[in-house]
Symmetry: C2
Subunit: 487 residues, 2 copies
């Protein structure tokens, strides 16, 4: 909703103060470390305060909390005005009054408190909406966890990772916001501006998209939405962004009962999923239907959003069972596992013995396929094949140790990563690695985790759930078609 | 293929010697620890030899290997006859001769060597088949990794876990055999008889099923098959087993190209997937279409194969986003998320505050939902609801630490598991837990891993990939319908 009286340019300027606030007021800080004071502890642990950020605690009941002075209200003359960001964490019934107090004092405010329209409290909801409409402050929420930015050390929970990156992320669910942030962040797939937008009574998803469009750090936009007030406006802004920056959307509320569930969650009107699908197709948005797929699609878009020229996929494994599995899975999803060009097969035949191997697509390289030198040659041959649009390969990191011993080389894993890092720079084709976990122990997990960290450095997405891979390829292919139509 | 001249009763008797061999000959043992000698090292590390098992190494080129005497051939008078099990690990061209030598000396033999029909070596393949047909020894393979049994310490790789359990598992792919064994085994979901059956030129899947039917330890049968020689025979035996022991089948080669890929993998005729689907439906086999789903279905069948009375599912979460996600996912797969009975909702209302919660299906218990005492009450109410066939709930083990501190209790995780352990014994309804990982770090993984180990002790399956849950419920429901039709 762009109901504000401010012009876009003013808004655009303003959003920088939201994501890079020089001063933050926490209204409703108390002794309870899980209430408003959670934000103070978060801003301490993130380094915001140490880096020169100013935090003002507001609560008429205290003079001091956790060693910080506490002010009775925002108007207190000791607080320098204007304040860039207020965090409102008072009981729901006091929120409208506090919202009014913010006017002319705070540039932005996050309404952390919930218990309005989404909980059926109609009168209080109307009162809050009226207070917001009459204020010059711009509001995030209510019922939202707030705003994060690893670049400005803006934090909302203590000890959350602060991975700087190119993703800006808006979620209409605090839990979902946290899940993506804490799944990708620790793997060094980082974020710029993150917003748990809640009921979005003032600053809307289109407002944020407009800002992200012009933000030079944001290269990938991830959205979890349950409802939007104006589909047409959303599509217009999305269409102007997707030719330059991929947008990945997960829509909560796809089925009848799912839509019902969103009502008590964020209280908006969800709309038919078919309408959302059509909207995404027309505006080049990549659509994910559940979390695990969504996070993989965001990962791919943030690392290497290359689009395939066709739906033909090469499958490169060492072990015939997985070759059969992936072929079944991909073909059933509408992808094609084509024959290779004759020179590809001939090339493979010159590198590998004929025993326990299979050189047509899906390729089974057998035990020899784990020799990093031979694998690199095979990988190059397959990438060069003109029948192939994307390459999917399996590397089981648990096997590198024994392979190193067998081949008498230092570290087969590192050697594999080094060669892949070089090869990936010579191709535009999408490439995906599946780790095919073959040991369910904590040690084996750590081995796979560290391998994935290295692969991410090389910009090669590791996709653990193989059923997500064909879905990703289809989304990238459709995105490519959209990009072509916009040329 | 029951091409042997032996009667069933003899066969049945014989299979005990295959899975509980008192003596094992390794033909083709050499200095190479990755060849035939791998089996020696495996049988040392498993405790087979220490437990009194006899191993005889065969190779005319050596007198001694790894401190063990080596005999020139099977006929050597120093080797007591008959030998229960021979492992044939010589080059393909020597295999037919060794197969002939086994006759009257070895009860069973595993042909580990590959390079026959599946590699296009037609003449050698015919020679091998003829040698097998003229021998009284019964053979597993060729192109199979062999036979495992944690009860008899029969092992094929050093340091593989030896989890004893109720699953017997036959795979027409060595890699796939290993994946299931090493995924479920470390979680204490254990195995009895495990066979990597390879091309199955002699002992067939139906021979093994016939044995498992009468084996009292086997309660669950898992199969990965790419082809069968006689569908009718397979169906007949399966139909007589499934009323008593669930069979879970993953069929490799479901798509056109997938079927092609199986040809170079195990060389059999795969047949149309629709025929397999119909066969499974008629014989009460639960069908899985890829590995991750297969292993979850086997896990559920081994732990608690309870079937739901209907397709109505209760979803119990703490955090609205996941409730919406699961509702969408389950409904789109054909499940129903029905309203609760009024007394269920009323009961929940008496336990939980109305803020940030939602008491109809999907239930969002909010932050309070992590209090183990309140959760146990909610869980019981939902299980008792007559509209509900299965219950799916989310517990994020990463949250128990902070919850324990918040609630000032010792260990919220343990308390949750203790109460669930008791409640699960009072219900026949299928129950599934999803851990909804919310932190991607090795530490968080370890927390989830240990939680899952505890839940497995309580016989509650933890399903990590949520999209598998509705698929599991559908398979169990169909299995229930089949069981009813057989009453």
């Amino acid at each position: 909703m762009t109901t504000s009286s401010k012009t876009f340019d003013q808004l655009h300027e303003d959003f920088t103060a939201l994501f890079y606030p020089k001063s933050i007021a926490i209204i409703g800080a108390s002794k309870n470390k899980l209430g408003g004071s959670k934000f103070l502890i978060a801003l301490q642990s993130s380094g915001y305060i140490e880096g020169g950020g100013n935090v003002y605690l507001i609560n008429p009941k205290f003079d001091e909390l956790f060693g910080f002075p506490v002010y009775p209200d925002l108007m207190d003359s000791r607080i320098p005005k204007p304040i860039d960001l207020a965090i409102i964490a008072v009981s729901a019934k006091f929120v409208p009054t506090v919202v009014k107090q913010c006017n002319e004092i705070c540039r932005f405010a996050v309404i952390y408190t919930s218990g309005f329209g989404e909980s059926g409290n109609k009168n209080l909801d109307t009162e809050l909406k009226n207070a917001i409409a009459s204020s010059n402050t711009r509001f995030i929420g209510p019922n939202g966890l707030g705003v994060l930015n690893p670049y400005s050390k803006l934090a909302i929970y203590p000890n959350w990772c602060q991975s700087k990156g190119n993703i800006s992320w808006v979620a209409q669910s605090g839990g979902t916001m946290a899940r993506l942030y804490l799944t990708l962040g620790p793997m060094n797939i980082g974020f710029h501006n993150v917003v748990s937008i809640g009921n979005a009574y003032d600053i809307s998803i289109t407002d944020l998209l407009t800002y992200f469009q012009h933000d030079s750090i944001t290269k990938t936009i991830a959205l979890y939405l349950e409802s939007i007030p104006d589909g047409r406006e959303f599509m217009q802004i999305a269409q102007s962004i997707t030719p330059l920056k991929p947008i990945i959307l997960w829509k909560g509320g796809q089925s009848n009962r799912g839509v019902q569930a969103t009502l008590s969650h964020t209280g908006g009107l969800a709309g038919s999923y078919n309408v959302w699908k059509a909207m995404c197709k027309q505006s080049g948005i990549m659509l994910a239907d559940h979390f695990e797929f969504f996070q993989d699609l965001v990962k791919v878009a943030a690392l290497r959003p290359n689009v395939p020229q066709n739906l033909n996929v090469a499958i490169l494994v060492a072990g015939g069972g997985i070759g059969v599995e992936f072929t079944d899975m991909f073909e059933k999803m509408g992808l094609v596992i084509p024959d290779f060009e004759p020179q590809t097969i001939e090339g493979l035949r010159q590198i590998f013995p004929a025993v326990n191997t299979s050189f047509n697509n899906p390729i089974d390289l057998g035990e020899y396929g784990y020799d990093p030198r031979l694998f690199a040659q095979a990988f190059k041959l397959v990438l060069a094949d003109r029948n192939i649009g994307s390459v999917v390969f399996v590397r089981e990191p648990e096997r590198f140790n024994i392979i190193s011993k067998m081949l008498d080389i230092d570290d087969a894993g590192q050697m594999t990563i080094d060669s892949l890092t070089k090869i990936i720079q010579t191709t535009d084709k999408p490439v995906f690695c599946n780790p095919s976990p073959n040991r369910n122990t904590v040690d084996a997990y750590e081995t796979r985790y560290n391998f994935q960290l290295q692969m991410i450095k090389a910009k090669i997405p590791v996709i653990e759930i193989p059923t997500n891979i064909p879905k990703i390829i289809l989304q990238l292919y459709n995105y490519g078609k959209f990009l072509e139509s916009r040329k």
